[in-house]
């Protein structure tokens, strides 16, 4: 198996349809195939170990992704926003490389031993690329265990690790979740997620296999996003929670007129604030919403909450159906999910534990640590959560984020869900702060929606809905919470910022 098989099929079946860019001047599937061949020739001629990309989204990215697969070297997208020292440290770990880079990084990366850097413009417009015509035979390696992509995980805890995705994982994911040529000729997807994130890689693969034109939005801005949707005839989009929050605000600022052109909007990457998704369902009244849950180590999506569940939750009076909006739906066919306790015992519906997954698309491997799969192929996600009676999966935050107060484990997610259900709370974060008496105590940070609610009201609400041990020792009002660019709450930052409350003698 090789990712090039996917592009070869698209070039064969879709030929002159536009794969990437605008309808009038975008690259067709056939052209993309030829450019990938040109890129493969470039990589082979250079004899490098990696295809590094350190640039914002452009047509050079799918060319490099498929070109690297053709040449048999891993595609390694780096976060071009990193400080120079951090970026160079990551780039060195990729070994010898051809690196696509933007202006400030072109020289920096080119200065590394074995690395030659090239701008996206030169890389994509290389006259050596595309001269072979569509007759160029595919001479890529079909070994399913070859490295396809190396991704540095976001590092919300500790230093970045490089996750290994092999051709078999990504191809299995696409074949298992995407229908070949399933998209109509008029469909286009707007990609605004970072290219060095698994969602950025997966969006290229799934869109190309589905035959859905890719429109790239290099720097996310809610107004540009809305304008691009209208100008480019965008029908599909994937956003992270912070993006949807800003899109919803921007639409409201424009008068709150509904957007009807978007047929499908998927979101994931972090916890979606309930008021945001509820408002989005109103502002996109006929859009199919999808909440996707996945990890870098699982080749993107492993579970999804589909369009019908969203609309049922929106209009239902049944609390169970309403609550589904807080779930990530059910596992994809071909993906199994188990919830286990600390001893490894498999738990039943409703019991909270660590989420384990298994399936062909699950890689669960790092360059530094090797495979984390157990003997039966299960991968520990480090995410906590539970499955309800109907098989819906609920994520309640990273296991590393569990608050342990007086020996009792509590999930920040359950406290946050209750806090956000208060009409005066727009967003909330519960963290454990070290203290002498309890080991950790609960600190609740809230972003108010209008006037801040009385902390006693929140305490009562949490006591009533959960139990007294979950009642926070402190409720602090903040202007906003720190998220990384894919929407993950940076709890580590909050724990440092509010560590002083641990010594506060008031409780």
């Amino acid at each position: 198996m090789n990712l090039m098989m996917l592009l070869e099929m698209a070039a064969e079946g879709l030929g002159d349809r536009v794969a990437v860019g605008s309808l009038d001047d975008g690259l067709t599937y056939r052209q993309l195939y030829d450019r990938a061949h040109g890129a493969a020739n470039r990589y082979r001629a250079a004899g490098v170990e990696s295809a590094v990309v350190c640039d914002e989204s452009s047509p050079a990215l799918p060319i490099a992704l498929f070109g690297s697969a053709w040449a048999g070297i891993p595609y390694v997208p780096l976060n071009y926003r990193l400080p120079a020292d951090d970026l160079l440290a990551l780039a060195e770990r990729a070994g010898s490389a051809v690196a696509i880079a933007d202006e400030p990084n072109l020289e920096r990366l080119g200065g590394l031993p074995g690395v030659s850097s090239v701008s996206a413009q030169v890389f994509s417009a290389d006259p050596a690329a595309g001269t072979d015509g569509h007759a160029s035979p595919g001479d890529w390696n079909m070994d399913p265990d070859d490295l396809a992509v190396l991704l540095f995980t976001s590092g919300t805890t500790g230093s970045p690790k490089s996750a290994v995705l092999r051709h078999k994982h990504l191809v299995s994911y696409i074949l298992g979740s995407v229908e070949f040529m399933g998209a109509g000729e008029d469909e286009a997807t707007l990609v605004s997620v970072p290219p060095y994130h698994i969602a950025g890689v997966a969006s290229m693969l799934s869109s190309i296999y589905a035959g859905r034109r890719i429109v790239q939005l290099p720097r996310f801005d809610p107004d540009v996003w809305i304008d691009t949707v209208e100008r480019e005839g965008v029908t599909h989009a994937m956003v992270v929670p912070t993006m949807l929050t800003r899109i919803v605000d921007a639409l409201d600022a424009r008068g709150g007129a509904p957007m009807l052109g978007i047929r499908a909007l998927s979101y994931g990457g972090g916890k979606m604030p309930r008021p945001v998704i509820e408002r989005a369902l109103e502002l996109f009244p006929i859009t199919n919403f999808v909440n996707a849950y996945g990890l870098t180590e699982t080749s993107s999506t492993i579970s999804l909450l589909g369009p019908d569940d969203h609309r049922v939750a929106q209009y239902s009076d049944d609390p169970v159906e309403q609550q589904r909006l807080a779930s990530v739906g059910r596992p994809l066919p071909g993906v199994e999910v188990q919830v286990r306790d600390d001893d490894g015992t498999v738990l039943g519906p409703g019991d909270v534990g660590e989420i384990f997954v298994r399936g062909e698309q699950v890689a669960g491997e790092y360059r530094e640590k090797g495979s984390l799969l157990d003997a039966d192929g299960w991968f520990p996600t480090r995410d906590g959560g539970f499955v309800d009676d109907d098989g819906y999966l609920f994520i309640q935050g990273r296991n590393d984020d569990v608050i342990i107060r007086g020996g009792e484990n509590m999930s920040p997610g359950e406290i946050e869900d209750v806090a956000i259900s208060h009409p005066g709370v727009r967003d909330a974060a519960a963290i454990g702060v070290p203290c002498r008496e309890w080991g950790e105590k609960v600190v609740l940070l809230i972003v108010p929606d209008g006037d801040a609610p009385d902390p006693d009201e929140l305490d009562d609400l949490i006591q009533e809905r959960l139990r007294s041990s979950r009642v926070p020792s402190h409720v602090e009002v903040v202007d906003e919470l720190p998220y990384n660019e894919t929407g993950k709450l940076l709890r580590r930052v909050l724990r440092e910022q509010f560590a002083h409350l641990g010594d506060d003698p008031t409780d």
Binding site: G13, P144, V290, T301
Partner: protein, 101 residues
């Protein structure tokens, strides 16, 4: 007879059809256009599909047997139609998963 396992690829010997195994295992008499299929890249194409196996194979479609133990994905289209152990393989129902990324 060929050995089926997920990820294995086979080509027709009488038309341009190629497939990749999505599901299946063990020894199977896999044919396309009435002629045995061989591992991709190991055979020449000669002749043409037999009349009773010339319905064609469509690019990107999944083909399965009646008891759902075999599923093949067509990576190249061709004029011959697929069969396993003498039974015709039919187009499997398209998946209806919504786009998630």
């Amino acid at each position: 007879m060929v050995e089926l396992k997920p990820g294995a690829r086979f080509q027709s010997t009488v038309c341009s059809t190629e497939v990749i195994v999505v599901k299946g295992g063990g020894e199977v008499d896999l044919t396309c256009g009435g002629a045995p299929m061989v591992a991709s890249g190991t055979g020449e194409i000669s002749g043409s599909p037999s009349d009773d196996a010339a319905g064609g194979t469509q690019l990107g479609k999944r083909y399965g047997n009646a008891d759902e133990t075999i599923e093949l994905l067509a990576t190249k289209a061709g004029d011959g139609s697929l069969a396993a152990d003498g039974g015709a393989l039919e187009i499997a129902q398209a998946k209806t998963l919504p786009a998630s990324d």
